[in-house]
Each structure stands twice: as structure tokens, then as C-alpha cells.
């Protein structure tokens, strides 16, 4: 019940296209859903996050869509650029578990020029 399932494992998108990465969870007590971006040789960095009281959050070309009833959330990258090539992780946490992040397995995104 603590798992966060992420798909796909890898994704290749043409420059200018839309990249979509999906995550699903079971624990309805989760109350915070972040996405992290990791470039090779670097640590993960917080990209964007959402709480379950909203269905969508947009920051520049990055959007989180959240479906509480389906227990799913996704990251959309509009106008994908080669500089977006990285590994993306979804995660979830809840206050009652010391805010511990439960991580998805990661998606390696490659944007082809």
C-alpha cells in the first residue's frame, strides 16, 4: 500500500513534443505529490509538486495533473527540449509518516533533436 508505481520506465520524445509520465498510488493518506528531476551525475532536484485538493498545477512548461478518485497523477512536459533529457521521479508522502517520501522507480526521458 506504500508503493508508488511509475510508468513508463523509459521514454523517447521528439523535440517540441509532449512528454507524459504517469504515477499511481494506493495509500489515500498521501497528501503531497512531488516530481523530481535528476540529470546524470547530479542529485535529484524538486521540479514541481501538488497537493490533493487541486487537480492541476502548472509551472512554465511543466504541469502536474492529479486524479484523486483514480489515485493517479502525471507529469506533462510541453514543448519538450533536449535539455529536458533526464530521469524523472514521482513521489508521495504523508504527514503521519514523518513526511517520508515514497519514490517511484524513475523514468528516463530522452528528447531527440
Amino acid at each position: 500500500q506504500q508503493q508508488v508505481k511509475q510508468s513508463p520506465q523509459s521514454l523517447i520524445v521528439q523535440k517540441g513534443g509532449i512528454s507524459i509520465i504517469n504515477c499511481a498510488y494506493e495509500n489515500t493518506a498521501f497528501d503531497y505529490f512531488p516530481w523530481y528531476q535528476q540529470f546524470p551525475g547530479k542529485g535529484p532536484a524538486l521540479l514541481i509538486a501538488i497537493r490533493p485538493d487541486v487537480s492541476e498545477k502548472k509551472e512554465g512548461r511543466f504541469t502536474i495533473s492529479f486524479n484523486k478518485s483514480a489515485k493517479q497523477f502525471s507529469l506533462h512536459i510541453m514543448d519538450s527540449q533536449p535539455g529536458d533529457s533526464a530521469t524523472y521521479f514521482c513521489a508521495a508522502s504523508q504527514q503521519t509518516s514523518n513526511y517520508q517520501l515514497i519514490w517511484g522507480a524513475g523514468t528516463k526521458l530522452i528528447i531527440k533533436p
Partner: protein, 112 residues
Amino acid sequence: DTAVSQTPKYLVTQMGNDKSIKCEQNLGHDTMYWYKQDSKKFLKIMFSYNNKELIINETVPNRFSPKSPDKAHLNLHINSLELGDSAVYFCASSRFGGRAQYFGPGTRLLVL
């Protein structure tokens, strides 16, 4: 100024040795973490300290011992290193309840 720093960046050592990794954060956060990232990029929480108190202790061999001398530092000592310990170890910090975690650059450990 680096927000979360780790030393060393690379660590190559023989099986059976003992090694330490150090982490420091200058963000004023009160919570720090150690993560292990394996070759498949999977991130696994190992430990978390809040105000020098251990609050998360996942199933990790007791050869791994964290130590937090103060809120800004969290070190990881590994005894009797094994081949399977080869991984990238990340330190992170956050404000307790603040949700966003800030990661260091990682320490790449290779056990031969």
C-alpha cells in the same frame, strides 16, 4: 555557496574496509536524510534525522551507522564494506514538515 555538500565525491575501496561519508547543509534545515541509489536508479531511503534525533530507520544492515553531530551535519559510516554496497549515496535536507527535500551531489562508492 553549495546548499548540501558531500565528501568525498568518489570513493573506491576494497571489500572489508570501513569508510565514512560526510554531509553538510547550510540551508538552516532541521531534517537530514541518507539515500542509496542503485545502478537501476532506484532511490531508497536509509535514514533520517530531525534535530539530531533518528526518525526514519529503514531496513539497512547494521554495518551502516549514521551520526548527526548537529543539525547541519549528517555522516554515514559503513563497516566491513561488501560488493553490494557499491552505489551512489545521496544526502538530502529539508525543513521538517516542509516537504521539499534538497539533495547533495552524491558520493559514488565502488567496492572492489
